[in-house]
């Protein structure tokens, strides 16, 4: 994570007008100190002096500050938004770092050392040494149950999380099952209640014992928290209503995957629709793989 500016690539798009990765070194130092504390206390929300960033709140100001503070000249960055590498937000943030830090960027999960994400965890299993940075809109899991910050902090300190189950109880009462489908609350390391940011609950099991370092940044709310590698992350549930992830009857219309998170895409105004992987990199990889197999075994029927 050496950020001294001597190794910058000779990319024409880079600029010398900013410090490496936009933030000044004092700010990065401050953010890193918060990150260290966050890693030391998994799931605990550490306040930090969030800066104004050149994008609006809600677009990833927290994530971008965390990324700027952990990224070094040798890192390769991937940015996804709802699983896709090619949406406005993802493209803009990737370009931002390509320009201000001159680092390599990629769309391939395996190649990336730092992955900034909004609303998804990549389908491809992450590995040791990778850092996953989440953009978090609202870090406090107890916020809609208790409006007072002083009180929620006390509830965290005393591990008073019973009210969280009141919400799940209400879900079952109204819908017959736990209907919360994203930003599903988890207990980290058997201690802190944490909001995993608005990822689908489909991704919750991936957080558990993940070899990668998971960092969470909330820019507007000025909070950082973390899940260190190989940490227990348990989704809340009831004994008689255990935690379940979403399932689909269809498989991906492009790559035929039947175990990835699918987006429903409306294709025309006649009610036409299809289900496709939300993780574009994963989907493209599978298609490429299938094509390779087809060309190497022309006699075999396609999958």
């Amino acid at each position: 994570m050496d950020t001294i500016d001597h190794n910058r690539s000779e990319n024409a798009a880079t600029t010398d007008d900013y410090n490496f990765a936009y933030l000044d070194e004092q700010t990065k130092r401050m953010v890193r100190r918060s990150l260290l504390k966050a890693v030391a206390i998994p799931g605990y929300q550490v306040p930090f002096g969030s800066r104004e960033m050149p994008l609006s709140y809600g677009w990833g100001t927290g994530g971008i500050q965390v990324t700027a503070s952990v990224i070094g000249p040798d890192d390769t960055l991937k940015v996804i938004d709802q699983g896709a590498d090619d949406t406005t937000n993802a493209v803009s943030i990737r370009k931002f770092f390509a320009k201000t830090a001159g680092i390599k960027t990629t769309e391939e999960t395996e190649q990336a050392t730092v992955i900034q994400t909004r609303h998804r965890i990549p389908e491809t299993q992450l590995k040791e040494g990778q850092v996953l940075v989440y953009q978090v809109p609202i870090p406090e899991p107890l916020r809609w149950l208790e409006a007072r910050e002083t009180e929620t902090r006390k509830m965290h300190a005393l591990e008073e999380y019973g009210t969280m189950h009141v919400r799940l109880y209400e879900d079952i009462t109204r819908h017959g099952k736990i209907a919360t489908s994203y930003d599903y609350p988890v207990i980290v390391n058997d201690r802190y209640l944490m909001r995993p940011s608005p990822i689908p609950k489909f991704d919750n099991p991936k957080m558990d014992q993940n070899p990668a370092l998971q960092l969470f940044g909330a820019g507007r709310e000025k909070r950082i928290y973390a899940v260190p590698p190989y940490t227990k992350v348990k989704s809340l549930d009831f004994e008689d209503h255990p935690f379940e992830v979403q399932k689909w009857d269809q498989s991906c219309a492009i790559c035929r995957s039947d175990n990835s998170f699918l987006d429903e895409v409306i294709t025309d105004d006649q009610g036409g629709r299809m289900f496709v992987c939300s993780d574009t990199d994963y989907c493209q990889k599978r298609v490429a793989q299938q094509q390779r197999e087809k060309t190497s075994n022309p006699g075999e029927p396609s999958v």
């Binding site: 019973g162 009210t163 189950h165 009141v166 109880y169 209400e170 004994e239 008689d240």
Partner: protein
């Protein structure tokens, strides 16, 4: 009233609380025995609620002590124990019934969830069990079971108050603090609520500290009475004794102010 227990459940000793220059309550001492209901009466501003808050762990007194007989350690000072212990006590062994049920209820969740909250707070994680217990308690406070999924906002004031009581009693507390539980209810609803309270206190062997300015309420459900004026207890004794034969001039005034119908 059950006097066979050797130790009091709660002991207040010389409890004093000032608000700046003003006296909230001063030098109040009393013992509450298991199964006993103590009433605190007096006019507005006499320090009833201050005293209730001091004894229920919500407002530290500037001097004096409040001790509660915890299940594990016997009499212990509630302001000496850790905040975690005190809050645990508040949601298990204690109940607090607010005058305005909206202060004590979670208005955005169903009646069942309101009753189940304490159970979930102490670690109950079985939806079916929680719901069954909530249903039982709704029955005990005279609700129709099919209201279990309704929002408290669809209930009348009296129903909300009964729901608040059920929500507090679900963990079988030994001590319930009540701040004007019948205030704001019309007389017939008051009478029903009082009947219900009397039955519950009797069945569960609850102790209670009840604040009221309504002497009729005090007469109906309290065993002993403390009359407060300007932050001090001016007279205390058995309820019937105090009300039938008031000694202090202020108590005499209070008793004689009741409209005889």
């Amino acid at each position: 009233m059950n006097q066979s227990h050797e130790a009091p459940l709660l002991t207040a000793d010389n409890v004093t609380r000032y608000y700046g220059e003003h006296v909230g309550c001063r030098g109040v001492s009393f013992d509450l025995w298991p199964g006993e209901v103590i009433g605190i009466v007096g006019e507005s501003g006499s320090g009833k609620t201050t005293l209730l808050n001091c004894t229920s762990g919500r407002l530290p007194p500037v001097s004096g002590t409040v001790q509660f007989a915890t299940r594990a350690e016997g009499l212990s000072d509630i302001y000496e124990m850790s905040e975690a212990e005190r809050r645990m006590l508040m949601r298990t062994d204690w109940g607090f019934v607010h005058q305005n049920p909206r202060d004590g209820l979670r208005m955005a969740v169903s009646a069942g969830a309101n009753i189940g909250e304490r159970l979930m707070a102490i670690g109950d994680r079985h939806y079916g069990d929680i719901r069954r217990t909530a249903g039982d308690w709704l029955g005990k406070v005279e609700f129709n079971i099919d209201r279990i999924d309704d929002m408290p906002s669809t209930f009348s004031g009296g129903m909300q108050q009964r729901l608040q009581i059920a929500r507090n009693l679900v963990t079988k507390p030994r001590l319930v603090f009540m701040d004007e539980p019948t205030g704001g209810l019309d007389v017939s609803v008051q009478a029903r609520l009082l009947d219900l309270l009397r039955v519950l206190v009797d069945e569960l062997g609850l102790s209670a500290i009840l604040v009221t300015h309504d002497l009729a309420v005090a007469r109906l459900i309290t065993h002993r009475l403390m009359v407060m004026r300007r932050g001090e207890v001016v007279e205390s004794g058995l309820t019937d004794q105090v009300l039938d034969d008031p000694q202090h001039p202020y108590t005499q005034l209070l008793v004689s102010s009741i409209l005889q119908v």
